[in-house]
Symmetry: C2
Subunit: 202 residues, 2 copies
DNA sequence: CCAGAAAAGTTTCCCCTGTAAACATGGAGG
DNA sequence: CCTCCATGTTTACAGGGGAAACTTTTCTGG
């Protein structure tokens, strides 16, 4: 039993169980202000048990954030691959996947981008965040190579795109993109404004 | 003495003093995770005194956020009025003012846009946030009238612009807009991408 | 001018949280 | 079988938010 580190001793992979409980709590609530004791309680262990699996509360939060980035990366990557062929439409699909993720997992999304999950303090978290970012980067590079996107500095494109998508996700989570105000598809409309600047003129 | 509610009794406007202390703490730190007791301590009163001026901690946070929005509105409005005449340049000036505000008051900015300062729970906070948003709205309307910006739905333009500015502010605060990665003026470069879509073609 | 009354502050209290330390347990290897 | 270590549990402590009771000012009306 040495292939994975967390196997089954007393509880049977409490590490995973705690993460699952916490993820469940995050999914339910708009905020991620759960307490470590509550997680332990719902998992059916004593309030000190988590400390055998996570150095402190922040370590658990960072691990949750990391899982969130992995999931977001998968969601975005899948949206890109199964989307329409046009680069512009791929971009929209990826952005919508990110925004949908935020709306369906507001607590987790907020945690991922909060200062409490300090990416600098955890190489694994940083790596996961960069991998997610990489999905966007690769799309921009490919789109630039095939002439869909303008030949501007990739980092500038990436910063603009990422700011836009993340900003829209935030607005959407806060319910500030109401249809009666912004029209039938607010996200699409906002993305089109950016894409008109991003794409080459037709 | 019935014109304003908080005058001077024992302390002499403890209401304001608490806000000032908290603002000072917010300015110093990257995060706004201060405690109410710490604010009271630094103001030189007992830990229960604040409850005579704020219903609870959240009420204080909301008031701080409200002040933040007022300041941000002033900063952006001033940037617009004292900036160059071109609509496009005005937009850039306003955006840079917002981003600079975020960088100089990261704790306050994070508080303003965190879920803890629930705008729905406080009409005054909501009003202040809307007023700040109004600066952007009026600029877009004016720019559209004089033909600088495209005749797209104003809410769509606003959503895109706001998402972009707020997203860039977040990235800037997190130190993810480094010059060596994005070039000499990362914000400008990213804004230009958006503005190329926002402005009418030349 | 002098009671109240009400405002503003303080103390005390309770329950919660994060976290450390001491203690218990049970399964794996000698 | 027995011992060790990973895994849990109990106990303990500092600190926070907030309620309640008490005290001290300041204001107000008679």
């Amino acid at each position: 039993m040495s292939d994975t580190k967390h196997r089954s001793y007393h509880h049977g992979d409490l590490h995973r169980a705690l993460l699952d409980t916490a993820l469940g709590m995050l999914a339910a609530d708009q905020t991620w202000t759960f307490t470590l004791r509550e997680v332990a309680r719902r998992t059916g262990v004593s309030h000190a048990a988590p400390y055998k699996h996570f150095e402190d509360k922040d370590a658990l939060l960072r691990e949750l954030a990391r899982i969130g980035f992995v999931r977001l990366e998968q969601a975005m990557a899948q949206a890109l691959s199964s989307g329409p062929p046009s680069m512009r439409e791929k971009f929209v699909a990826g952005a919508q996947a990110c925004i949908a993720f935020a709306q369906h997992n507001p607590g987790l999304y907020r945690l991922m981008f909060s200062a409490d999950a300090d990416k600098g303090a955890d190489p694994r978290l940083h790596e996961a965040a960069m991998a997610t970012f990489g999905v966007l980067l690769r799309l921009l590079e490919k789109g630039q190579q095939d002439g869909s996107f303008r030949p501007v500095s990739i980092p500038a494109l990436a910063a603009a795109s990422w700011a836009q998508v993340h900003g829209l996700a935030m607005l959407a989570m806060n319910g500030q993109l109401l249809e009666e105000k912004v029209g039938p598809d607010p996200v699409r409309a906002a993305l089109d404004v950016l894409l008109d600047g991003l794409c080459c003129k037709v």
